[in-house]
């Protein structure tokens, strides 16, 4: 008790310093004890505050507290770091026993549903929630890496590990062709595209909610069709200051290298295939090796915050620093954010402000270089460069070969090309909620986001790139600005009467996104000193059309929406929502669309007749149907016939600006709509040891926006953006979580999920302006097509047979007419699967033992095919004279091929051991300044099981045009990281 006596004055000082006044004139004393609900252990230092007063105390080492109050009844606010804050009404002076529940477990109980929150048990739609403790750990550079494999129906794919490139995400498959498949990202209420994720410091994420079905996403109407990712960042808790540092450093290596011929093998083959001796420059260069290095990724974040009754703030700074495994590919991202909440007007008004600024610096490896017949990223150019070519000439200049058409020396490119980008992101928001009457809250929310992306590029003649040599150096700068504003006004009414529980909200929303920018370029520099920093030093007499340009376009969306959540006796739940959206990008008479949804749920275990059964600890059945619109992927101005500039024409004896009609216009453009039905079961059995969710859904996208092929004549261009076809997706998703061991010192949770997905193109033909459009077998990737009745990206391909006596590839003549027809609908083509995976799965076990914790992520997908473009270009000896081929080409012995056959089509299934994290939490009771310390080690991409022959089977599965092929990727790294997390007192 000595301690307690010492503590009291200290505590008083603290309270005073925080602006509390303490009154000694008390006439009633209440007392009690606070313990952890999990194991009943007592909790020390818990803050106890009397609501609407300045009175408070903290618990002693035995968890007890005493507090003098003027009168009863009172409401106590009991809060402690890591636990959910509780309000407890005290009506007598009898000692109370208070159980605090771990914050993370209560957090998963509250789900952000868009324009509000709901308790998980009241949900009627399909929503996955991942709380901070379940996020993937390690050298995370993008929040999506933290949720990979953590939610069923959500596919996160990372193509290569190029610094600064984030993963892609698809929620319940590909439901649109050009309308947009990227989900809406909502960060603390601010809506944005995927690039908004870059502004979120990974360590500052409290939870991620993913809205999957239409009844959940319909509230986001036009932008919700591809799903919604809602990120909630950490907030400070009242009565407690915090200071925390989290950091990690990883060492990144390339786990797999593609085998090309070395110099000796190249010349052996060269002699066989008649390569002229003049093409052999006698060196021995491993181009891949000299273009790669060990990479490093660092991640630091420092956050602090605090709060008192009615006020709290949190601030953080974060830095993500990446040095890529390919020479000169670096990325740095610095983020600062501050968030403050203030209550006023007798707690009736709550103001929340958010300010976030980030700066990213990119040193990019050139994305698109190479010879006319092979344009790829820089690293893939290392494969096609002859191993017998030296890096340097005898005089120290970079080697180049004038007898090869558009030769490039990839090392020279890596050393001399400058491609620097800086992006400044700024977003701010203000939310004001005012309690107008009991249960009725009026809200105003405004957010403003500005992104300035500035790029400088310099391609010197030294780079050996023909275009640069022709122009004696090319420099350009481009500046692109995004200005996104959103405002909404809402009214929320909550009412409980008897067994009826009602929560209704009505919202008006206005948003505008403006995109503008400019580009300037100069050529002909006498030296390379100023690079892109002084365009005026170039030869201005060489300024050409296209060397300068600017643009501006915008999109406005106006919405009216409403939602009613109604429950009866906690057992029967109903959600209805309706949204009416208008978008500027559509034709004059088609701007508005209506998007309703309805869903119901039944908490079966709350029924009286279920009280005696022993199987289910909880069981809920859900069903929902909704309509969502899509337009975000559609650029502005497509509905209009516009005139733009296109270079120069010679007329009347002089060159003048040439004006052209820029596109086929379609005044009938309208909303693409998705109709989705979802049914689900949430259950908990075996004394809550096994919990799970099983869902099934079907969705049909109608009025599919697409670049439909139209006949020339009469159209001046070959495609038009129109709403014609339809697309279907069906899926089943299962998530299971099994607490195999649940003891005080040892816990083992086995969790995992499986998703099955079936995609089908229902219709691609229809009519536009009353004229039939005949669009089927639309090329959608290398040998992949959109075919009615098949999944998108179906490989319809000619089958490999062998080779003829001239070593030319032979293929199967399916219809035996002695003609190999390579047309899109050719009878010689056969369907051989799709580029879309049919299933994805993940296994995420977590083991804790005393202070140790270990978690793993195993993730896989399969049932898809990949067309290995890179292998097809690097397997034919016809190009040996100017380049190199894979070692595997030797056994094939093909000189040339007229076909893109299934010889290059490979199984894309894989299983990846993606993450292993082992952590240790130190016991630090005795330290003066540190309350928590955890160190961890993470291995990423530790093993990959696949039959795929390319660098990595995890490729672009965006569903967009061109997916399903592998034209060479930036290597996917394997990384080893150590991390530290310190919480200061």
């Amino acid at each position: 008790m000595i301690k307690s006596r010492l503590l009291k004055p200290l505590l008083l000082c603290l309270l005073f310093s925080l602006g509390f006044s303490y009154s000694w004139a008390q006439d009633k004393t209440i007392s009690g004890k606070v313990s952890d609900a999990k194991d009943n252990s007592v909790l020390e230092n818990v803050t106890i505050l009397v609501k609407n007063s300045n009175t408070g105390t903290k618990t002693n080492a035995d968890g007890s507290f005493r507090l003098n109050i003027p009168s009863l009844p009172v409401t106590l606010i009991v809060s402690n770091v890591g636990f959910a804050t509780q309000e407890i009404k005290i009506t007598s002076t009898d000692p109370v026993s208070i159980l605090l529940v771990n914050a993370s477990s209560t957090l998963s109980d509250v789900v952000v549903i868009g324009y509000g929150t709901a308790r998980k048990k009241d949900l009627t739609g399909a929503i996955s929630t991942i709380s901070s403790k379940d996020l993937n750990q390690g050298p995370v550079t993008n929040p999506l890496q933290q949720i990979a494999g953590r939610a069923s129906g959500v596919s996160v794919t990372q193509t290569g590990s190029e610094p600064g490139t984030g993963p892609g995400i698809r929620i319940r498959g590909i439901t649109s062709l050009i309308g947009g498949n990227d989900p809406l990202v909502v960060v603390d209420g601010i809506q944005g595209n995927m690039d908004l994720l870059r502004q979120v410091p990974p360590n500052e994420i409290e939870s991620v909610d993913i809205l999957k079905d239409a009844s959940a996403t319909a509230i986001y109407g036009s932008r919700g069709a591809p799903g919604v990712v809602i990120i909630t960042t950490k907030k400070s808790k009242a009565g407690k200051t915090s200071l925390e540092y989290t950091g990690s450093t990883s060492f990144d290596v390339i786990p797999k290298k593609l085998e090309v011929l070395n110099a000796t093998e190249w010349w052996e083959q060269g002699k066989i295939w008649g390569v002229p001796a003049s093409a052999n420059h006698g060196s021995g260069t491993d181009w891949f090796d000299i273009l790669t290095q060990d990479g490093f990724t660092q991640n630091h974040s420092l956050s602090f915050g605090g709060g008192a009754n009615g006020f709290n703030y949190r601030a953080s700074v974060a830095a993500i620093l990446q040095k890529g495994v390919v020479l000169r590919s670096d990325f740095k991202n610095y983020i600062g954010r501050i968030q403050a909440t203030q209550k006023a007007l007798d707690d009736k008004l709550t103001l929340t402000m958010n300010l976030n600024s980030s700066i990213t610096n990119t040193k990019g490896s050139p994305q698109s270089v190479g010879r006319a017949a092979f344009t790829s990223n820089l690293i893939s150019n290392s494969y096609v460069t002859r191993p017998t070519d030296p890096v340097y000439n005898a005089d120290g200049t970079y080697f180049t070969d004038a007898s090869v058409f558009q030769y490039i020396n990839p090392y020279a490119v890596s050393q001399t090309v400058i491609n620097n980008g800086e992006t400044n992101n700024l977003f701010g928001s203000l939310r004001a909620d005012l309690e107008l009457a009991k249960g009725l809250t009026g809200g105003w929310f405004g957010s403003w986001r500005k992104v300035d992306a500035n790029w400088g590029y310099y391609l010197p003649a030294l780079s050996t790139v023909t275009y640069a040599i022709d122009n004696k150096g090319v420099a350009n700068v481009s500046n692109n600005r995004q200005n996104e504003r959103l405002m909404d006004i809402s009214l929320d009414y909550k009412k409980k009467f008897g067994n009826h529980n009602l929560d209704a909200i009505a919202v008006y929303e206005w948003q505008n996104q403006t995109y503008q920018g400019n580009f300037a370029q100069a050529k002909g520099f006498i030296n390379d000193i100023a690079t892109y920093n002084a365009l005026q030093l170039g030869d201005l007499s060489k300024v050409l059309p296209g060397d300068m340009s600017s643009y501006k376009n915008d999109r406005t969306i106006v919405s009216f929406l409403g939602r009613v959540n109604y429950s009866y006796a906690t057992r029967y739940l109903l959600t209805l929502s309706m949204r009416r959206d208008g978008s500027s990008v559509f034709g004059a008479n088609h701007k508005w669309g209506n998007f309703p949804s309805a869903s119901v749920a039944w908490r079966v275990t709350d029924e009286a007749f279920m009280q005696n059964q022993k199987i289910f600890n909880s069981l809920k059945l859900r069903a929902g149907y909704g309509v969502t619109g899509n337009q975000q992927g559609l650029g502005p101005q497509n509905s209009l016939q516009l005139v733009g500039a296109s270079g120069i024409t010679y007329f009347g004896g002089q060159p003048i600006t040439n004006f052209v009609i820029t596109q086929n216009s379609n005044a009938d453009l309208k909303w693409e709509t998705k109709y989705q039905t979802n049914v689900g079961i949430d259950f908990s059995v075996l004394h809550n040891k096994l919990t799970g969710t099983l869902e099934a859904f079907t969705s049909t996208t109608k009025n599919l926006l697409f670049n439909y092929s139209v006949p020339q004549p009469p159209y001046p261009f070959g495609t038009i953006v129109a709403n014609v076809g339809s697309l279907s997706n069906k899926g089943i998703e299962l998530m299971l979580n099994y607490k195999a061991i649940d003891k005080k010192d040892l816990t083992l949770i086995l969790a995992g999920n499986v998703s099955l997905l079936k995609n089908k193109v229902l219709e691609l033909s229809g009519s536009i302006n009353g004229v039939p459009l005949n669009t089927d077998y639309v090329p959608w990737g290398p040998n992949s097509y959109l075919i009615k009745g098949q999944p998108i990206g179906t490989f319809n391909i000619i089958r490999h047979l062998g080779k003829d006596n001239t070593n030319s590839e032979t293929v199967v003549d399916q219809n035996k007419d002695n003609i190999i027809d390579q047309g899109n609908t050719s009878p010689d083509r056969v369907m051989e699967g799709s580029a879309l995976p049919k299933y994805t799965y993940a296994f995420t076990p977590v083991l804790t033992y005393k202070n140790w914790d270990m978690s793993m992520l195993w993730r896989g997908s399969g049932g898809n095919k990949i067309y290995n473009n890179l292998r097809s270009s690097l397997s034919l000896f016809e190009s040996l004279g100017k380049g190199n081929v894979f070692k595997s080409a030797v056994s094939l012995g093909l000189f040339t091929s007229k076909y893109g056959s299934d010889l290059w089509l490979e199984d894309g299934s894989f299983l990846r051991f993606e993450n292993l994290t082992i952590g240790y939490r130190f016991n630090l009771e005795k330290l003066k300044y540190i309350s928590g310390l955890r160190v961890s080690a993470t291995g990423n991409n530790l093993a990959l099981f696949t039959k795929y022959k390319g660098l990595d089977p995890e490729l672009n599965v965006s569903g967009g045009n061109g997916f399903g092929g592998d034209g060479g990727i930036y290597p996917r790294t394997r990384s080893f990281a150590v991390g530290i997390n310190v919480i200061f007192k």
Partner: protein, 502 residues
């Protein structure tokens, strides 16, 4: 409650005030407003001419690759791009030369799309010029341009979709027979050429003046037999005579040491096509208006560096059989490069091109195989992406040979025919042919005079030579006289009928 009502009404009025979702266009012009002005109408006409210079993606008449020019030149006996043992060049160029092309070839698709986009542009210009009550000469000019595109369409594809109104939907645009379109072209030209300006050069350089209009009409009549089965030799002669009224003469052929190829003759293919002989030219300024890649594409890499200062492409070559017909004294043979330099010392880095080509596709030709062509000897600005040589579409030497051919074919004045041919030969440093020229003499002379100018396929067809074996190309089936309608066009328009044999 009062508070609530106020707040609600603020919210509602704010909402009502902001329900506008009209689209604002900041960085382009709305087509209707733009073309409605007099200036817009002029620009619409200029826009049609923008279609003609050759450029990347196979657009334009001549100058770049994979478009109309390659389709009509590589399919003849005058040039081919062989695949190389060094791995360069796709095999589709060789397929053109070998008459093995298929409907999905890029050349065919590009040509079709270019021509129909050109027809759209011409229709647009005519519509706007008429609306703006423009100068009748300008309306006539746009109509002649449209006739020019339709002439190129029937020449390559036979029966083609025909429309003159951009608002028509595809079901209203039937595939018209070659004869129907031919009749339209003749009617349109005869009604409009006299309205065109007679000005040569200056503001009419690169444009259809009256003389270019008649040259086009002469070309259409010259090939009438191929298009409709009914020759129009007399009409062709009459049109040629009309061209002659323009006061054209053959440009001097004289030796000129200042020209890299040694003769003034090659000024015809230089920076500006001289308007004494040139009737219609394509203005070219690399990277600004079109480009001319023909010499750069032909020369070998190091030869380009040596002569021009940048790498050349080692692409197109002249087949041996074609080259060997040239007389050694013919100044037009100077356009070719093969063997050691006969005109002076052999500079260092000089590539000795062999006249023989061993293989076009598999394994391909060795790097130095095949004679090269420098007819369009690069003029500045130029780079490995192309030079700025203008390109003659019609010139007077062609008109003289056309008239001679018609005279011979129609039993006209053979002495006059011989005289016309002699004019062309003497300018090239050759003597007159002994006696009256035969049709084969005319055919060969056209080959000498007009090589690499885009006329060869049409000439070979008219003279019945197209399907015969030549060089490395074996004889071909009848159906190759027409190109197939491209696969992409058939896919999007089910009303189209493919040409027989494809």
């Amino acid at each position: 409650m009062k508070k609530i009502v106020i707040l609600l009404s603020i919210a509602v009025s704010a909402g009502w005030g902001c329900t506008k979702v009209d689209e604002t266009v900041y960085d382009k012009y709305a087509a209707n407003n733009f073309y409605g002005t007099a200036q817009g109408a002029d620009v619409a006409l200029a826009g049609v001419y923008a279609q003609i210079p050759g450029n990347w993606d196979g657009v334009g008449y001549a100058g770049a690759d994979r478009g109309w020019y390659d389709l009509n030149s590589m399919s003849s006996d005058e040039q081919v791009v062989p695949h190389r043992t060094t791995g360069d060049w796709e095999l589709d160029f060789a397929r053109l030369y070998l008459r093995q092309w298929i409907p999905s070839e890029s050349f065919i698709n590009n040509t079709w799309n270019w021509l129909y986009k050109s027809v759209f542009t011409a229709n647009l210009a005519i519509e706007q010029l008429v609306k703006a009550n423009a100068d009748p000469a300008k309306i006539a000019e746009a109509k002649v341009l449209r006739a020019f595109f339709y002439y190129l369409l029937i020449d390559d594809f036979g029966n083609v979709p025909f429309y003159t109104d951009n608002t028509l939907t595809v079901d209203k645009i039937p595939q018209a027979s070659r004869t129907e379109v031919y009749n339209f072209i003749v009617t349109e030209l005869t009604a409009n050429v006299d309205k065109l300006s007679p000005t040569r050069g200056g503001t009419y350089y690169g444009r259809f003046n009256k003389w270019a209009g008649y040259a086009l009409l002469a070309k259409v009549y010259l090939n009438a037999g191929v298009y409709t089965g009914t020759p129009k030799w007399a009409e062709c002669i009459a049109a040629c005579n009309k061209v002659a009224e323009g006061g054209f003469a053959l440009h001097a052929g004289a030796a000129d040491a200042s020209h890299p190829l040694g003769f003034k003759y090659y000024e015809l293919f230089g920076d500006v096509c001289p308007d004494d002989e040139t009737i219609l030219a394509i203005y070219t300024k690399a990277d600004v208006v079109g480009r001319n890649i023909f010499t750069i594409r032909s020369l070998g890499g190091t030869d380009g560096t040596r002569i021009l200062g940048y790498g050349a492409w080692n692409g197109s070559v002249v087949p041996k059989d074609y080259l060997q017909k040239f007389d050694d004294n013919d100044i037009r043979k100077r356009q070719f490069r093969f063997g050691p330099n006969p005109y002076g010392p052999q500079p260092s880095g000089f590539i000795n091109y062999s006249i023989d080509i061993t293989s076009l596709d598999n394994p391909g030709a060795a790097p130095n195989e095949g004679a090269r062509d420098q007819k369009f000897f690069p003029v500045t600005p130029s780079s490995s992406g192309g030079a700025s040589n203008d390109f003659p579409i019609y010139r007077y030497a062609d008109i003289l040979l056309m008239k001679a051919e018609c005279l011979l074919r129609s039993g006209g004045d053979v002495t006059l025919a011989a005289n016309l041919v002699t004019q062309v030969r003497q300018r090239a440093g050759l003597t007159a042919l002994p006696g009256i020229p035969t049709l084969d003499n005319i055919y060969d002379e056209r080959g000498f005079e007009l090589s690499w100018e885009g006329h060869r396929r049409q000439d070979m067809i008219r003279f019945g030579k197209f399907l015969q074996a030549h060089g490395l190309a074996p004889a071909a089936d009848n159906h190759f006289l027409l190109f197939p309608i491209p696969t992409a066009a058939l896919n999007t328009n089910p009303l189209l009928t493919q040409n027989p044999g494809y």
